[in-house]
Amino acid sequence: MTHSTTQPARHGLAPAFHSENPLARPNSAISEGTWTQRILIGVALLYLLGFLLLPLIAVFAEALRNGWETYRQALLDPDALAAIRLTLLAAGIAVPLNLVFGLAAAWAITKFEFRGKSLLVSLIDLPFSVSPVVAGVIYILIFGRHGWAGPWLDEHDIKIVFALPGIVLATVFVTFPFIARELIPLMQEQGMDYEQASLSLGANGWQTFWRVTLPSIKWGLLYGVLLCTARAMGEFGAVSVVSGHIRGQTNTMPLHVEILYNEYQFAGAFAVASLLALFALITLALKSYLEWRHGDELSAIRRH
């Protein structure tokens, strides 16, 4: 038995199942009957097909229903372009902010002991558990015309709500956990040894961060940035509350899709929606690539 598994090719008599994963043997103790297997796989596939793949295909099909030219027109509409620009701008500000603060939070949590640490960890998760609408309303409550800081902001002619700053704030709030959540388990697993080794060799704090810490978490960080970006571009609820839906000015892509849809401009709605879906697909592809290429370094995340 051991002989045939170690040199199956030379002897040419090793039964096929010997060289395969032992769990996949036909009579393995944990395998189900053939029919049970097929039914389970079938159900799972049907479910995925019906609830995930079909809608995705439908989006692209609807978008291109009236031909390529209509599609192009819908995307080149000034309002649509403004929405795309605003979405990219908001994500472009929110993601770097979360990158810095997520990194700082993960660093603080994993490398230091302090009072209130568990409170901080729970706070990081807050955006996951609070409805985005609530987040939006909170910002209105604080920065709105009748909010706490409203009069002061009015006096100094600073616009936050119904303008880019509000949209960025709402996006930051909703996407805050993504990067910190990616990094915490990764940095926890790596512990302090690398940093301590670096310091013992005479490096200062900055050198340690740039040469040791950052390279060892870069793939996890990139993964977090990716998820964060996807969410930042797709965020609807919180942004909807603070944006004010001013067409061409404070409409992001998801909001623009909704407005067009409500006005029965399906072609336009689906065209913009398809673009959002495309962003999502690209993110997914990049994410899969990262997992495939740097699975070892990311495995800490998946385990937690």
Partner: protein, 376 residues
């Protein structure tokens, strides 16, 4: 670099990790901090490195007190238990790290760095592997990269935390011998932490045996093994059978039997614990002093034969070890009555609280059986 540790204490919450430690380490010495887990040995090492700071006390490198200086100012070579090699750097870059991060003024030229790194890689016998990544190396090779990296900064003291802990038995033995040679060749003052007594005894010039945040004994390998200062040290180095006895006029009595005799001049009397190693028990001649036992089991484990025997009277089980070719071995048969001689033993006053009548003052005394020569 002479290192003097003066009155160091450290508290973690309610746990006293180190309790008023004093220790002198001479330049060029190879010292082992030995003790069970929780004994404070790693805390002491990390404190010398600057990874922990004492609540109280001084650590002198030469005549400079560095107890509160950060690690990067101490110039210590620290080898971590799991090596902490930078995974994204090659062997070469790992070793070069300590040179590259130096300030512009002290940084050697690229050519100089290259020369020094290659020299170190050769010293740790890894020539040809300098462009490998740590994940492509075996455990023993990683260990040596970590060592080369630590040596690159020309450390004032080399500190190793459980240096062989993560290696398998064979590699461990080779590396131990190699490290000893390296030390002889380079002469760095070296301190390493281990819980493995064999490792400490084989490698170190002097051994510091720690227990519960305090130093139990400091001495050469021979000193701590032959003259253990405390019952803890005796037990920790090689295990011990503990027999309760009374000392009357230099006779060690177990019940009414004389089991051994103390050397001339010993002051011991009263209730004592006799500590004897499993390997120091042999069959006695009929007229010799010794303990009467009944053999309860015999087991061969390679070069050693281990036997268990019940003490006559109390039934306490003693363990005995013999080399497998020893002429006593055939007589160790289950249920056989034997008298065992204590070839070498220590007596300590019985735990003070249990018998306040004891008259021996600590530190205690070591007895050595000499009946053979006396009978000539």
């Amino acid at each position: 670099m002479n290192i003097q540790i003066r009155d160091i204490s450290k508290q973690f919450g309610s746990f006293r990790a180190l309790d008023r430690i004093d220790l002198d380490i001479a330049s060029g010495e190879l010292i082992a901090l030995l003790g069970p887990s929780g004994s404070g040995k790693t805390t002491l090492l990390r404190m010398i490195a600057g990874l922990e700071f004492p609540d109280h006390g001084r650590i002198l490198f030469g005549d400079q007190d560095i107890a509160l200086r950060p690690i990067r100012e101490r110039r210590v070579g620290f080898v971590f238990q799991h090596y902490a090699l930078f995974k994204h750097m090659t062997v070469f870059e790992n070793v070069a790290f300590g040179l590259r991060v130096r300030g512009r003024k002290q940084r050697p030229s690229e050519h100089e760095i290259r020369r020094k790194v290659l020299e170190l890689i050769e010293l740790v016998q890894l020539s040809g592997l300098e462009s490998r990544y740590p994940s492509q190396l075996s455990g023993g090779q990683r260990q040596r990269v970590a060592l080369a990296r630590a040596l690159a900064i020309d450390p004032r003291v080399l500190l190793l935390d459980e240096p062989f802990g993560a290696l398998d038995a064979k590699v461990r033995k080779e590396l131990r011998r190699w490290l000893r040679e390296l030390h002889t060749r380079t002469g760095y003052t070296t301190i390493f932490v281990t819980h493995d007594q064999e490792e400490a005894l084989e490698l170190a010039d002097r051994v510091v045996i720690m227990n519960r945040g305090a130093i139990e004994q400091v001495g050469s390998v021979d000193q701590v093994y032959q003259h253990p200062a405390t019952p803890f040290v005796f037990d920790f180095l090689g295990g011990a059978n503990v027999i309760e006895a009374q000392v009357r006029e230099r006779c060690v009595m177990h019940g009414e039997t004389e089991i051994a005799r103390l050397p001339d001049g010993s002051q011991a009397s009263g209730a004592v614990d006799v500590y004897v190693r499993p390997g120091d028990l042999r069959i006695a001649e009929a007229h010799q002093a010794g303990i009467d036992v009944v053999v309860t089991g015999v087991q061969r484990t390679g070069p050693l034969v281990r036997a268990a025997a019940a003490l006559a009277g109390t039934g306490q089980i003693l363990s005995i070890e013999l080399p497998h070719l020893h002429h006593d071995v055939p007589r160790f048969v289950t249920n056989e009555r034997l008298r065992l001689r204590l070839m070498q033993f220590s007596v300590y006053p019985r735990a003070v609280k249990a018998s306040p009548s004891t008259t021996i003052a600590a530190p205690m005394l070591i007895g050595r059986e000499r009946s053979r020569s006396r009978l000539g």
